[in-house]
Amino acid sequence: MERPIRVVVAKPGLDGHDRGAKVVARALRDAGMEVIYTGLRQTPEQIVETAIQEDADCVAMSILSGAHNHLFPKVVQLLKEKEAEDILVVGGGVIPEDDIPGLLEAGISAIFTPGTPTTVTIDFIRENIRKK
């Protein structure tokens, strides 16, 4: 039997708004995925360590504080350094449209902005993780 998709849902930085992260985490779980939620105030280093330790297929991060341009690419870069770039990275939160091309270029595979149905996120993860 194929093992379920494993997703680390993370809150990088100092932002405390975790409603979105928790709703997404539950929706992923209800969709049959295994979800590890990190809690608040995670550094990029901690997130990458958790992702590797948990053998995650995907890291899903949420930021509403405006620090996404700094923190999201940092996670991608650290995954690369640890040779774990096969882990899919997606992000969400209050992220201005203008910032999205830069984030995609930095290696975040998708950015989900306010109003995105959880089904869109679920489908994206299913279709884009690298099957191991």
Binding site: K22, L71, V94, G115, P117
Partner: protein
């Protein structure tokens, strides 16, 4: 309110009407099988005098300014003066924010409300590693008294009231405000304003905690005590349901968990030896206002009545001021959509009406672009104008509590009060709010509501105009406010200069005195004030307290 005979006739007439309605419905069903408020209260087709048959006017409603304050805390309400129009603002540096405050005051705003950036709220200086990327983003960066002096430059502190959204390090920012007052020649007795200072809801919903529960509660009671003697016009806490609601709670849960937190603060202060009537008159509250106008109005009324009862019966307060629930309101950020942002102006107008019809003491109206970024100046002006239109043009301010006596409003007020009281009883059984948080009970209740809400949206049972119905193709919004990343560098340079020019021995001595006081039972406020006056930084002061108190470990509940 009606005699038995009259009620009998009303019942008869209603039943006859219901029979007719059933026939209509059998041909043409209603829009939904069941109608419910956010709190899960079933909404009847029609409310009649039967629903308020047991309502004892003097006992349950009474006159404005009289116990149990259901109809408002002041005797004249908005006929005396309007609520304080107070827009929450702050971003980038103290210089930038100072300009925005002056702009808002010129536009007719009547009080200031300071938003701090996350490093400030969590007690880190701008040059701390964890501050990277966050400096000046969601509010203004304040590292020392120097920044605070710039923030209020040219704003006389004896003329404005200032609300500061600051919790874990509230004592430090209050001390800085007092010190700025000293420099302006304004004594602490003349200062008026509010610090949020509500740590329990940080653990529940907002996330900017630093210290564990016990030392945090000590800091809070230290502030209560200090202010009752030195800063008597200061609201020492703003017990907040706002963020609980934003995290996804229902209206009834918002009332319940906020008042449960309030009970915990009163208990802590009483335990510390304070007399309830010495500090309770300075407790204030902060609620959300969402779109369900009538449920929100009922919520505000229910909260006032329930708190009055708690203070009188549970804590035996004698002063009427201790029983009055005074509150600030902010319209609901989470109700705003990123899609078709102009629609948000209408949502905010409805929420403004709800807050005013509910008897708020001050109000922040959200700007239409807040689902996208921090608001621009234009968007903030429309939000402020919305308040001014409701105040000056709508007419709802001309009589007090105009919706009282509505069969629906009174019935819903009762039901929300009942639901909240049941939650409070449950929390009491768990050992109080702090214990209920530790067990994750409150967080879980909120998360369940948030998830249920999301599912309703995705199934289409709940319509959010422009988001899951009536969508249009739209271009990416232009002209959003952006905080220049150079702010972080600027703050670092300012800190470097400060550390070079201040008397570092004096700072060290003040921090050492604070460290010793933290280990004793002394009130920490005077020590913090000394450290602030010596230009000790926020990060240094919180660092000393982190060393002595340790840090809070979040319970992760999913």
């Amino acid at each position: 309110m009606f005699d038995k005979e009259k009620l009998g006739q009303i019942k008869e007439a209603r039943e006859k009407w219901e029979n007719g309605v059933s026939k209509t419905i059998s041909k043409q069903p209603e829009r939904k099988a069941a109608f419910k408020t956010s709190s899960g209260v079933e909404i009847k087709r029609l409310y009649t005098p039967e629903d308020v048959a047991d309502l004892d006017y003097n006992d349950r409603l009474s006159c404005p300014g009289e116990y149990p304050y259901t109809r408002g805390v002041q005797s004249t309400m908005y006929r005396g003066k309007f609520w304080t129009m107070r827009q929450y603002a702050g971003f980038a540096t103290a210089e930038e924010s100072n300009k925005r405050y002056k702009y808002l005051l010129e536009q007719g705003q009547t009080g200031l409300s300071v938003a701090f950036d996350l490093p400030t709220q969590i007690g880190y200086d701008s040059d701390h590693a964890l501050s990277e990327g966050e400096v000046g983003k969601v509010g203004v960066a304040i590292d020392s008294l120097k920044d605070m002096e710039i923030l209020f430059d040219g704003i006389p502190l004896d003329k404005v009231s200032t609300s500061m959204t600051i919790n874990a390090p509230a004592s430090v920012l209050l001390a800085m405000y007092i010190a700025v007052g000293e420099k302006q020649g304004v004594s602490s007795e003349q200062l008026s304003g509010t610090i949020q200072n509500d740590i329990l809801k940080e653990y529940i919903a907002r996330g900017t905690y630093i210290f564990p529960v016990e030392p945090s509660m000590r800091l809070i009671t230290n502030i209560f005590e200090y202010c009752s003697q030195q800063v008597p016009k200061w609201n020492t806490i703003s017990i907040s349901g706002y963020h609980i609601r934003e995290a996804g709670s229902t209206a009834a849960q918002e009332v319940a968990f906020t008042l449960a937190d309030g009970i915990a603060y009163v208990e802590a202060a009483v335990k510390a030896g304070l007399d309830v009537d010495d500090f309770a008159p300075r407790l204030s509250f902060f609620f959300n206002s969402h779109n369900d106008l009538l449920e929100e109005v009922s919520k505000f009324r229910a909260a006032r009545r329930l708190w009055a009862k708690i203070m009188k019966e549970r804590f035996h307060a004698k002063s009427v001021k201790s029983m009055m629930l005074r509150f600030h309101t902010q319209t609901g950020g989470s109700t705003l959509t990123a899609q078709q942002p102009d629609n948000n102006i209408v949502r905010v107008a409805i929420q403004t009406l709800a807050a005013v019809l509910g008897g708020t003491q001050s109000l922040h109206t959200n700007s239409k672009d807040e689902a996208l970024a921090l608001p621009t100046e234009d968007a903030v002006r429309i939000a402020l104008r919305t308040q001014q239109i409701v105040a000056y043009e709508s007419g709802v301010t001309e009589t007090i509590d105009p919706l009282a006596g509505s069969y629906y409003i009174e019935s819903l007020t009762d039901q929300i009060e009942g639901l909240a009281a049941a939650y409070i009883k449950k929390i009491d059984e768990l050992g109080g709010a702090a214990k209920a948080i530790e067990k994750g009970y409150i967080q879980k209740e909120i998360q369940d509501s948030a998830y249920a809400y999301q599912k309703e949206i995705e199934s289409g049972d709940r319509v959010v105009v422009g988001m899951n119905k009536f969508q249009v193709k739209e271009a990416a919004p232009k002209g959003l406010l952006r905080v220049d990343p150079v702010v972080g560098e600027l703050q670092k340079k300012k800190l470097e200069a400060l550390r070079a020019e201040r008397d570092n021995q004096k700072v060290e001595a003040a921090l050492e005195a604070l460290r010793n006081a933290a280990k004793s039972d002394d009130n920490l406020m005077p020590y913090i004030l000394d450290a602030v006056r010596a230009y000790g930084t926020l990060g240094e002061i919180c660092g000393v307290l982190r060393n002595v108190f340790g840090e809070y470990q979040q319970s992760i509940i999913l």
